[in-house]
Amino acid sequence: MSRIVDDPLTANYEVLENLRLELRRGCLILAVLAELRTERYGYTLRKALAERGVDIDEGTLYPLLRRLESQRLLVSEWREEDKRNKRFYQLSKEGKSVLKQLTSEWNAISESLGKLLNGAT
């Protein structure tokens, strides 16, 4: 424990890792909602996100899908594909509206931060 605190490189890494995770949380929700404008099941959704440069592990993705569904932003149904039952998710009507609002929010933040960060460098 004291080793971790005393080592500035490790301490920085821990801080950076926590900040990175915090930064990613909101972004991942937005990415998942955006990708689910098209119906997908968990595995293909993860691959589609990875192809667009958004890596998300299953241990994070599946609970997130359940949470978004419980918030009525997604709808899901079990269907058979490739001889296996799969749970397909898609944005709900409410989800589409939330995605629209979040996208506006994201664009505004991105623009402001872009100016701020460019000015800072």
Binding site: Y43, D57, G59
Partner: protein, 325 residues
């Protein structure tokens, strides 16, 4: 594939039971898809080590299950499942220790009140156990972000697969229902016509007055028992109401046992003039009182166990928000 099933079993054991089949089925599909993709790339089936690597990437099963749990503020999602298991075990050990002490005191010939007094210290001890375990885990949670104790786990150390207890068939339930009805009729009639229950013993002893005083409770208990079996037969998927009725059954049982244990005599001599039977009947009453103390403790443990499970499962349905994204 057995390793995958062992992993899923570990996840399932820590998930809210109402949704665990659904969640596990989805996780199974995801894992199998990953395995298939890897096998296609390699052009051969995966070995155990490679399968284990996929599971390791999926994460510690307890942590994964914790992410499906509710929003918890003191203990984070990643530790909550382990915390809950440790807390349950600690409380169970404390309960068993109190029960054993209580039984030992009753067996030593002390009064029922003295015996139960020890057992009723349990709530205070349970509160202390809860506080200590919660504090320890809250501290671990605080440090856990740095130490990451859950990252070091080995898929090959997962417990072996266990077989599910088979659900009772309709035939078994019908037989059970008939037997319960026959037993209830025999018992409820026998309390009035005592030779039906006591047989030749009715010539020596009779039920004490307490049995008929609480006759209505016996009737309700019999009906509740029959209702539980009936529910299992007609609505096997109604697990929630069935558990609620089962809780009522344990509460009723507890009340009946408590009233019986508090009665000074459970049996009286059939002939009050035969003084030579008195020591025998006294011993019978003593033995039965002792048995009742044991039965009260066992029923109380069952009641608490079922109660905790019922409350947990009831609220698990409401709490689907994820903490540890």
């Amino acid at each position: 594939m057995e390793l995958i099933e062992r992993y899923l079993q570990a996840v399932k054991s820590a998930l809210p039971s109402k949704q665990n089949d659904d969640i596990v089925q989805e996780l199974r599909d995801s894992l199998l898809s990953r395995v298939e993709e890897r096998e296609t790339t390699l052009g051969r089936p995966l070995n155990e080590k490679e399968t284990g690597e996929i599971l390791r990437k999926m994460g510690n099963p307890m942590v994964l299950a914790g992410r499906y749990g509710g929003r918890r503020h003191i203990i984070g999602g990643s530790l909550f499942t382990i915390y809950w298991k440790v807390l349950s075990w600690a409380l169970m050990i404390a309960l068993v220790a109190h029960a054993a002490t209580s039984i030992a005191i009753a067996a030593s010939g002390k009064s029922l009140i003295e015996s139960l007094a020890v057992f009723f210290h349990f709530p205070g001890v349970a509160l202390k156990v809860f506080a200590i375990v919660t504090l320890v885990f809250a501290a671990m949670d605080l440090l856990g972000a740095r130490l990451r104790p859950c990252d070091n786990w080995d898929p090959f150390q997962l417990p072996p697969l266990t077989k599910k207890p088979a659900r009772k068939s309709k035939f078994d339930l019908v037989v059970q229902l008939v037997l319960q009805a026959v037993f209830s009729a025999w018992w409820l009639t026998g309390l009035h016509y005592q030779y039906l229950v006591l047989g030749p013993g009715a010539a020596f002893l009779r039920f004490g007055p307490i049995w008929l005083k609480i006759y209505a409770l016996f009737v309700v208990a019999a009906l509740v028992d029959i209702a539980i079996t009936g529910l299992g037969l007609v609505r096997p998927d109604w697990w929630q109401p069935t558990r609620a009725v089962r809780l009522v059954k344990h509460a009723l049982g507890l009340l009946i046992l408590f009233l019986l244990a508090n009665a000074p005599t459970l049996f009286v001599p059939a002939d009050v003039h035969r003084v030579e039977w008195e020591p025998v009947i006294k011993n019978v009453n003593f033995g039965l009182h002792l048995g009742l103390v044991v039965a009260i403790i066992a029923t109380l443990v069952n009641f608490v166990r079922h109660g905790v499970r019922f409350v947990r499962q009831f609220f698990a349905h409401e709490q689907q928000a994820v903490m540890g994204l």
